[in-house]
């Protein structure tokens, strides 16, 4: 690294420092960011249900993509030690102030890949932009089906090979069922929540970030097992902890 680069870095760091101080003074979300979090693990107890293989013979392209890795349903994905993946965790009570109304600027992405939704469950804040992309050489249509009366309005758009991403938002909290009519096995969830959220990973762990100290109710949502809630306290410099266990039916 030469001297010039170093100097720029120092300048950038200084600017960032200033910005965060300014944030603190303004008392906006920047000050709250990172100051608290809730973390934990979601598990499935009992023997996980068998996930059926998927017959993709309606589309030879899809069959070909799975020649060496047969596709399975993804309603229940359980990792080592019973960790339950694709659980959406969000704050259902206790949010007040800016973190309740701030909309994250990062854009979650769900890709149509090998005729599956990757990921199978995507979560987002109300009004947070997210993208639906395709990396398949076959046409998909993406058809979200919000329930009547929620305030969300469905639509149905085709995405042929090479199509640009669809960038969109939802108005109201709801777990929205999404499907492709061309490939009837393709079914996923776009889960809209209000405020900070997380999705459990392959080992079932999760961290909800950007929480100021306080008392919260965390709700865990899973497409098959419904919801569970827990009360959690977040202190300054000490993350709250909430583990969940769902029972296999």
């Amino acid at each position: 690294m030469n001297r010039n680069h170093k100097r720029t870095l120092v300048a950038v760091a200084a600017a960032l420092g200033l910005a965060s101080v300014a944030g603190l003074i303004a008392g906006n979300r920047v000050s709250a960011a990172g100051s608290g979090s809730i973390t934990g693990t979601v598990k499935l107890s009992g023997s996980p249900p068998h996930m059926k293989g998927i017959d993709m013979s309606k589309d030879p392209y899809c069959v070909k993509q799975h020649e060496n890795n047969p596709a399975k349903m993804e309603n229940v994905v359980v990792g080592a030690d019973g960790g339950l993946q694709n659980v959406v965790l969000y704050i259902s009570e206790g949010l007040s102030g800016p973190e309740a109304s701030a909309t994250p600027s990062e854009e979650p992405v769900v890709d149509q890949h090998n005729c599956m939704y990757v990921p199978h469950v995507v979560a987002m804040d109300v009004n947070q932009k997210y993208k639906v992309t395709t990396t398949d050489q076959t046409t998909h249509n993406i058809h979200p089906l919000p329930a009547p009366g929620t305030g969300n309005i469905g639509w149905n758009k085709s995405q042929p090979a090479g199509a640009p991403p669809i960038e969109t938002t939802w108005k109201a909290p709801e777990a929205i069922s999404v499907k492709c009519n061309i490939h009837p096995w393709m079914h996923g969830w776009h889960v809209v929540v209000k405020g900070p959220y997380a999705i459990s990973d392959a080992s079932g762990t999760y961290t909800i970030k950007n929480l100021p100290p306080g008392s919260y109710t965390v709700t865990a949502w899973h497409e098959e097992y419904g919801t569970q809630t827990q009360k959690v306290t977040v202190a300054a410099g000490q993350p709250g902890k909430a583990d969940f266990t769902f029972k296999a039916k």
């Binding site: 777990a175 889960v191 809209v192």
Partner: protein, 289 residues
């Protein structure tokens, strides 16, 4: 039946996530509907006609209630015998729009649909009503859904003037049909027998067939070339028929219209011009570009 449990799950999931009260279809009370009827916004505008909802109450009761129901929820007495189901006006989701997928139609869209009826369904053409009566009916239909109070109709999809039909354009239209894969549902020759056709369901979870070009039935949403152009740009909301507005350019769209005409069974200018081309149906096995 599989679909039914799926629907329940959706509702349960929706209610759970929001932690909100999900009143669903019963959301608008009759009282609220009547409040709304007295606001100036509760009217329709078609050209220089202004439709007044209350003026249509009797006509609606007499001619539409048997199918669409007192509350406009599509649960009229005859609904049980009818497939596809009568439209549920409380959702304000319409097949025939000039506006993008997921948006409200214009007043003209509904006005035109009432006179046209919907082919391959029990919805007859109501072409004996006066223009004023139809405008009033549009206003009455709108009063069933609160969406009309908070949303505006979508931006009309622009349709450029129809270009001259040439053999090159027809051939290029066939390439569009192959590239965006209309044939997955409509079939390589437009016979409604594409690989996905037998699996299709409408938003109520009821089986639905793609339009069969070879049979040549009347289009639900209008018979002209412009209507045909419009329908694959808007999609038919509530059904598997998606919008292609983001992925078919206006030039290509006209080419596709010309090609689609050659799939229909009646004589047409497009067919004449296409004859020397000796077009073969597209090959569904040539997947991918």
């Amino acid at each position: 039946m599989r679909r039914k449990s799926f629907d329940c799950r959706r509702l349960a999931a929706a209610a759970a996530v929001g932690g909100m009260s999900l009143l669903g279809r019963a959301q608008v009370t009759e009282y609220q509907q009547h409040q709304w009827l007295n606001t100036p916004a509760a009217s329709s505008h078609i050209g220089n006609l202004t439709g007044r909802p209350k003026a249509a109450a009797m006509v609606y009761r007499r001619y539409c209630v048997v199918c669409h129901g007192e509350l406009g929820d599509g649960n009229g007495e005859s609904a049980q015998w009818v497939d596809p189901k009568p439209r549920d006006f409380t959702l304000a989701i319409f097949k025939c729009r000039s506006t993008p997928t997921g948006t409200l139609p214009t007043d003209e869209d509904i006005y035109d649909t009432i006179a046209r009826g919907l082919d391959r369904s029990n919805m007859p053409p109501w072409n004996t009503f006066t223009r004023q009566e139809r405008a009033d009916l549009v206003a009455w239909i709108k009063h069933f859904s609160p969406r009309w109070q908070t949303e505006k109709p979508g931006q009309r999809i622009e349709i450029p003037p129809e270009p001259e039909i040439t053999p090159e354009r027809i051939k290029a239209g066939q390439d569009v049909y192959a590239r965006v894969q209309c044939w997955k549902c409509h079939g390589a020759e437009g016979r409604a027998n594409g690989p996905s056709a037998s699996t299709l369901q409408d938003d109520l979870g009821r089986p639905i067939l793609p339009y069969n070009f070879a049979e040549g039935g009347r289009f639900k949403c209008g018979t002209t070339d412009r209507d045909l152009y419009r329908i694959f740009m808007t999609g038919m909301d509530g059904t598997p028929m998606p919008s292609f507005a983001d992925n078919i350019k206006p030039e290509e769209a006209w080419n596709l219209v010309f090609y689609l005409r050659t799939l229909q069974p009646f004589p047409s200018k497009q067919k004449e011009i296409a004859k020397p081309l000796g077009l073969k149906p597209i090959n569904p096995n040539a997947t991918g570009p």
